[in-house]
Symmetry: C2
Subunit: 237 residues, 2 copies
Amino acid sequence: MNEKSFLAAYNRADYTSPLLSVDAVLFTYHDGLIKVLLVHRSSHPDKGKWALPGGFVDEALDRNLDDTIHRKLQEKTGVGTAYLDQLGSFGGSKRDKRGWSVTVVYTAMVAHQACASLVDTVDDVRWVALEELDSLKLAFDHAQILAAARQRLRQKALYSIIPAYTLNERFTLPELQAVHEVILEKPLQKKSFRRRIELAELLIDTGEKQSEGGRPASLYRLKPDASTYTFVRNLES
Amino acid sequence: MNEKSFLAAYNRADYTSPLLSVDAVLFTYHDGLIKVLLVHRSSHPDKGKWALPGGFVDEALDRNLDDTIHRKLQEKTGVGTAYLDQLGSFGGSKRDKRGWSVTVVYTAMVAHQACASLVDTVDDVRWVALEELDSLKLAFDHAQILAAARQRLRQKALYSIIPAYTLNERFTLPELQAVHEVILEKPLQKKSFRRRIELAELLIDTGEKQSEGGRPASLYRLKPDASTYTFVRNLES
DNA sequence: GCAATAGTGTCTCTCAGACAATATTGG
DNA sequence: CCAATATTGTCTGAGAGACACTATTGC
């Protein structure tokens, strides 16, 4: 039998495959806290609990998994995400009551301001501070997924500038340092922090300043390839 | 409607879900080269091409994705893998001719010796040196997946001792250094390499020696938690 | 002894940690 | 000037790179 006739005879419905979904842990920084976007489930299963934004592949619309998660996040936030990267896949027979299921999970980051307008107007989507997560009922295995995402975020804060994507496009160095400090849950040395970023040449000085009650801070913008840079030496963890 | 009646009414066959497979890039070190295990496809689609070892979830046997890949690798090599970790998932409408599909890919490592007996006796499974990959016809998007796995392996060589899992349980420091050098495609300083590993206390000295034509080298064994250790400072890339 | 391989001594260099000092704004 | 915040100077220490040196084996 050649491949053509094999494919003609092949019918996907003859094989059961685990249920596949795509979810994201979308991080932002607001009011001195790292927050994640959660969606209130209005349908079964796990109705009434909070879940990560996500959904199913639309075979007509999506060419690949990145398309799926982009589409889903756009629906919930109204904007494209500044940063997106795959965290991993979680699969098993017990995680979803509908049966054996797999979810491909992304971590994403966006400026709080960018999607404030949409998120604030709907009541089934909201930003939840990491500290507040323990007090919420989470759907499926999303508590476990969030724990893995936090771990990944922490690593990124140690060896990259990626947490900057939780800020507005233009941001100050003290703001960026504050983000890293919140993620790492420890204070950092101003001098060390600035020095490593300056040396890596990851930022563009916009020339503008932003005043915060004292000396105004310079506003920077990320260089396009800043997300791919890794420091050879990590911050102490 | 409550959840119970929702689940009773729910029928997975009513929804089409992408085809889901689980594959692995299994690395080993042999004859001064890093090699990966490939399987010759005997059935459609992509019959006759070489593919990563893997397969489909068995909903009866597998509790989770790790179970699936463990089972598949055990079938092909006859042994459990020394190291296993998820690389990522690759999904899209074009990668498999049967339709929209997703594969969850793991990277794994095993000692060449451990599975030599089985692999050498079958002719549809073989070790392929990384350098030789370009000359083989690879199934699906497996060339792209292998590129991502090589990239990941390279990173691990820079910040961890994980490449040690491609060696026998007991190995010498010059052997380990050779593995890292092959992966990074550059020579390393003996002194630096030994110093960082000694400082990290990742190895147990077995007290035994292994002779290689000159002064015999000490044989070491990995400490149980060696896979979770990351150096704060990377090797230069 | 010699060749071959394993392992050490020690200097330099880079970059993070610490923390004090200086700069620039608004009142 | 003072309070508040941003930014810099500079010393210390950890650990990688370089490379010459010593050690232990078989012949």
